[in-house]
């Protein structure tokens, strides 16, 4: 019996003028797994993520969330549906604290009259954010310092924590380890594993083949705007992956999930 994908794209099409970014693309993420989305530059990975996170509307095709067709007209729609994204540029506000960043746009207000005036419940937000990040293995010495004074890896962790805190379904991570050092990379991958273990699915876009093989439960390969291969980790040898990405690998492998 085939389990239903949590989030699925069927035949997505997206054109920018004469350029076809997505050419009938399929993509699936199942419950509690880490999927790596790999492909060469221009393969359509970013466009796919933008469609699935509501930043862009596809010209054709379907998106299904837990089996139901959905349509996202803005990133807020996707967020309400439980899909969050960690962008490559992190999109953090450097002068705000980690807690402020985690709760940005979704602040907790004080109860009663003060809350109606828009007064923030700073203590509650700080405590919750600290708890949450600790649960993900992120420790910050001074939680009330600005994000700008954190190291690159810690900033990444805050961005991930922000997405994970609110995502009930899927977290997309776009090149999460690209700008990090070796030790920090491992920490980010650890967080991804914890996120999966806490019940969300994770999609990691990456160029880094060794990492993909280390952390992913499955790999889906994109080329020229469509999915061209799906691998289980043990099949995902370096040659197989690169071959699929560049087209040296002829034809699609059997669908193992069937």
């Amino acid at each position: 019996m085939a389990p239903e994908p949590r989030l699925e794209a069927r035949g997505l099409v997206k054109r920018y003028g004469h350029v076809v970014a997505l050419d009938g693309a399929d993509f699936s993420v199942y419950e509690n797994e880490i999927v790596a989305l790999v492909g060469d530059n221009g393969a359509g990975k970013s466009t796919l993520v933008k469609c699935l996170s509501g930043a862009v509307s596809p010209d054709g095709g379907q998106i299904l969330l837990n089996g139901t067709a959905v349509h996202f007209s803005s990133p807020s729609d996707a967020r309400t549906a439980g899909i969050e994204t960690v962008y490559q540029d992190l999109a953090l506000a450097p002068e705000l604290t980690p807690a402020a960043n985690v709760f940005l746009g979704r602040e907790t207000l004080r109860s009663g009259f003060l809350g109606k005036l828009g007064v923030l419940d700073g203590r509650a937000m700080s405590a919750q954010a600290a708890d949450f990040m600790a649960g993900l293995g992120i420790e910050l010495q001074h939680a009330d310092q600005s994000v700008a004074s954190l190291s690159g890896g810690q900033r990444q962790a805050v961005a991930v924590a922000r997405a994970v805190a609110w995502a009930s379904e899927v977290v997309f991570m776009d090149e999460p380890t690209a700008a990090l050092g070796v030790a920090q990379r491992e920490r980010v991958l650890d967080v991804a594993r914890k996120v999966r273990d806490a019940g969300r699915s994770v999609v990691i876009i990456s160029h880094n083949m060794p990492e993909v093989r280390a952390v992913a439960d499955r790999v889906e390969v994109f080329r020229l705007g469509r999915r061209v291969a799906r691998f289980q980790p043990e099949e995902a040898t370096l040659e197989a992956l690169v071959g699929a990405m560049t087209g040296a690998f002829a034809g699609e492998p059997n669908d193992r999930t069937g």
């Binding site: 990133p75 439980g82 953090l92 506000a93 010495q141 310092q145 190291s151």
Partner: protein
């Protein structure tokens, strides 16, 4: 799994044991974090407050009978009240990474409109209802310019420096058109005698009371409310705010309108203080207010600053000027001193940014 809503709570943390960092790297990280946070806090309120308190102490010791008197305190605070109100509003704008050069002209325009309204409602013998209407007219006149500034900045995407440079001239010009170039020198007697030169409990000038109340209220808003946090967010990273669902354009619009509304209040206060408009007297208000917020710890790049700091920034130049005159030092040195403090404040902000970005 909870779905995020208005009063969303974070879901409970995953019950997975946290990994432990090797002690060696943790110790290093702690040291670096502590050093950075020390520097990050240095140029904020505490540093400049210490400077202000020390200046007051020094001048009081040097001239106890001239500087440390009730009269001097009353006139210093009353004379600074208009700038306090302007700096309060400007703090919001600068924290949002904007700038507003038009505040002096908006003040003048609002004072002219307000004066004309009060003259029409009775002039020198007008009662308090006319005075209140005059205040509302001033605030409305200011907000009109705020709307224009906000619209041009957010919708037409013109940089704030350019937009407010334009409204700087336009507002002053329009004020001169409305007043035919002549100062309106009739204000309700009650306005001048009570607000202008009167004092609460006979001791605290009403002008200062109004300015202080506005500073406290708006300072609390900036620090403790969602509106204030969105202001910091828009200044720190508009892109992050946008992606988090904040309507950045609408928020910035509100910020410029609030700022200009406060400039309108300052215009009404100046009518009370000077018993008439002072059309030619506000051409350096904008730079004085910018100096005040920068000395007080605002970063011109946005995301940093407090109203309390800006108030300290208002009083440092005022205390310097007053103290220098009383002590007998040449007034020109005040300009040098203020310039030096200003440069120091910006330099410290740059240091803070560089140390943060090198992470």
């Amino acid at each position: 799994m909870t779905v995020p809503g208005d009063d969303a709570q974070l879901p409970p943390p995953p019950s997975v044991p946290a990994t432990h960092e090797p002690d060696r790297s943790r110790a290093d990280r702690v040291l670096v974090a502590v050093k950075r946070s020390r520097l990050a806090r240095f140029n904020a309120g505490i540093g400049v407050s210490a400077i202000l308190i020390s200046l007051i102490a020094a001048f009081s010791i040097a001239r106890p009978h001239e500087f440390a008197t009730g009269f001097n305190a009353r006139t210093l605070t009353a004379d600074a009240s208009s700038l306090m109100v302007l700096a309060t509003g400007l703090t919001f704008v600068v924290v949002s990474a904007g700038i507003d050069l038009s505040i002096g002209s908006v003040l003048v325009f609002a004072s002219v409109i307000s004066a004309k309204v009060m003259v029409a409602l009775g002039g020198a013998s007008a009662g308090w209802s006319a005075i209140v209407l005059g205040l509302l007219a001033a605030v409305a006149a200011g907000m009109g310019w705020g709307l224009l500034n906000g619209f041009l900045i957010t919708k037409a995407k013109i940089p704030p420096l350019i937009v407010t440079l334009g409204t700087l001239g336009a507002a002053l010009g329009l004020a001169q058109v409305v007043s035919s170039g002549q100062d309106v020198q009739v204000v309700p007697a009650h306005l001048q005698s009570t607000i202008g030169i009167g004092a609460a409990f006979g001791e605290i000038p009403w002008l200062f009371v109004i300015a202080a109340v506005l500073a406290i209220v708006f300072g609390l808003i900036l620090r403790y409310t969602r509106f204030g946090r969105y202001t910091y967010a828009c200044g720190s990273s508009p892109e992050a705010a946008r992606r988090a669902g904040v309507n950045v354009d609408r928020h910035l619009m509100k910020v410029y309108v609030i700022q200009a509304g406060l400039a309108g209040v300052a215009g009404w206060m100046s009518l009370a203080q000077f018993a008439g408009t002072t059309i030619a007297g506000h051409s350096s208000d904008n730079l004085n207010a910018i100096a005040a917020v920068v000395i007080g710890g605002c970063s011109l790049f946005g995301g940093v600053g407090t109203v309390a700091g800006s108030m300290v920034g208002v009083f440092i130049p005022a205390v310097l000027a007053d103290g220098f005159l009383i002590v007998g030092l040449q007034a020109f040195w005040v300009e040098v001193a203020v310039g030096a403090v200003l440069i120091l404040a910006v330099y410290l902000d740059l240091l803070r940014r560089r140390s943060a970005n090198s992470a």
